[in-house]
Amino acid sequence: MRRSLGLRAMCVVLALSLLAPAAASADVWQAKGVPESVGINTLWVVIAAVLVIFMQVGFMFLEIGFSRGKNAGTIVAKIFTNFSIAAILYWAVGFAFAFGGGLGHVIGTEGFFLRDFGNPTDAFPIMGFSDATIEAKWLFQFSFCAVSLAIVWGTTLERIKFGVYVIYAIFFAALIYPIFSGWVFGGGWLQANVGMQDFAGSTAVHLIGATGGLAVLLLLGARKGKYGPDGKPRAIPGHNMPLFGLSVGILLIGWFGFNPGSTLNALDTRFAEVAVVTLLAAGAGALGALVTSWRITKTIDIGMVGNGVIGALVAITAPSGYVVPWAGVVIGLVAGVIVPLGVYAIDKKLDDPVGALTAHGLCGIWGTLSCGLFTLPALAEFNTVGKGGLLYTGSFSQLGNQALGVVVVFVGVFVTSYLVFWLIKKTYGLRVTEEEEFQGLDISEHGMYGYPEQFIPASELVGYGAAPQHGAAVSAGAATTEVTA
């Protein structure tokens, strides 16, 4: 019953999204006789989008690794459900709201359902610098929306109701993400008028996601048992560090689509330089987090090393197209230091199981601000956004613009998200019952454990176990041996 709310809402949106274009659908495709550069740049943008879409698997395992085994399966369903909602809605309306308007816009107005716009270059002016096709650009921008949505939920693991994912995803993919990301890198007012630099979305993707995560966390509260009677945080270790390692590896790979792909262009070869900057930052981040956490806890914290990579990648996302390699190293290193400090500090009060507030929030802010320090004037000019950083220009103006952008986006996303979550809390509810939380979301929400053999007694499973059925000799394959005298 309760759960049907979100699903119904979803169905309605879906139905609408289908009816509209059904009337005049044939306009999407036309025979092409395009210059080679279009094909090449489109190729790069599509490949980059596929790399970014792969990051969904990264986020899946980041959350799985850091959850207890009783809450592992739900994440699989969550990822694909959210991804799907984002796909349909970003196609229906999101992309149009984000990119389909004149420079300096507040909300776009063209390109719903990827149709009925004239020349794409006029309809989506901010992406006019690349001649990749609009379908490729949509795919790429959608993949960002899906990443941002995936980030939100890191703070909510192991206690949230599944329907909340569905309901918020609708608002997020249709409105919140498109509007605020559009301001930052969709040609909106922050980019076009303020000159805020955010090459691939430290703010527009990562901070937006983390801010949503903060809003819901404040309303949702900590996992039961996370804080002792004395208010001190207790360790609730995730269940699988190898799968966490998988997640970091996949995210790292995905980021080679995320940042370099944001050039939307292969032929100017800038993307290769962006890739180098990105890689160096990630490396410095891992080392920064390793050393910092080791100094504090005297152990080599696996989670910190991995989160150091992620935090550094988040930080370098904004400046990756604006800075030179050594600056990437510095930015990544600082992010690596921020990661353990942020995680330890936040953990004292807020229960953020994967450290999303630090990795995507704090590091996203740091990365965005770092443009104000390290942006090479020539690259600001090349990208035609903003000016050089403090280090080159001696002026605080770009840093101020970056800070303004961060504040505007944070406040905007926080307020709208808090409102949505507050409404959900009052109606559908945010949190499973204590009983369900104790049992785990896999069994209580999905009716089956994610690892059935670990939670269901072997004697109650069909044909479980490795015991031979009869004492008789085990035949071919497994040799046997008499043991009794």
Partner: protein, 122 residues
């Protein structure tokens, strides 16, 4: 009061549990154990080297009942656990001095099971 401990095959457990439940003995505890006995071991190979497991997985049933009920329990287990092959397992009966129900704190025979002969409680 007696405790019946049985080491049996996995497959035998389900019918035993169901019959005991019908007979009014819903309460028991099981655990996964590994047993060594007359049953053969199993040889594994890994990169050319081999490894023998002499211990085979079994289910251990623990069931405390009034002394008068021991025969029912043992017979039920024998009925379903017997395949006639080596490895069917063993049943042991042991003395128990006292029993307590945690929920209520009460003790004695009546906390043991819910079979007709015992103090019903539902």
């Amino acid at each position: 009061m007696k405790k019946v401990e049985a080491y049996i095959r996995h497959e035998a457990f389900e019918p035993i549990r169901m019959e005991l439940l019908e007979l009014g003995f819903p309460s028991l505890t099981v655990s996964e154990v590994k047993g060594s006995g007359r049953q053969k071991g199993i040889v594994e190979t890994y990169r050319g080297a081999s490894l023998t497991n002499y211990l085979r997985p079994k289910i251990k049933i623990e069931c405390v009942v009034a002394a008068a009920d021991v025969k029912t329990i043992v017979d039920t287990i024998l009925k379903y656990a017997q395949t006639g092959s080596v490895g069917d397992g063993k049943i042991f009966v042991m003395p128990v001095d006292q029993a307590y129900r945690v929920r209520t704190g009460e003790s004695g025979d009546e906390v043991l099971q819910t079979h007709p002969g015992a103090a019903a409680e539902a």
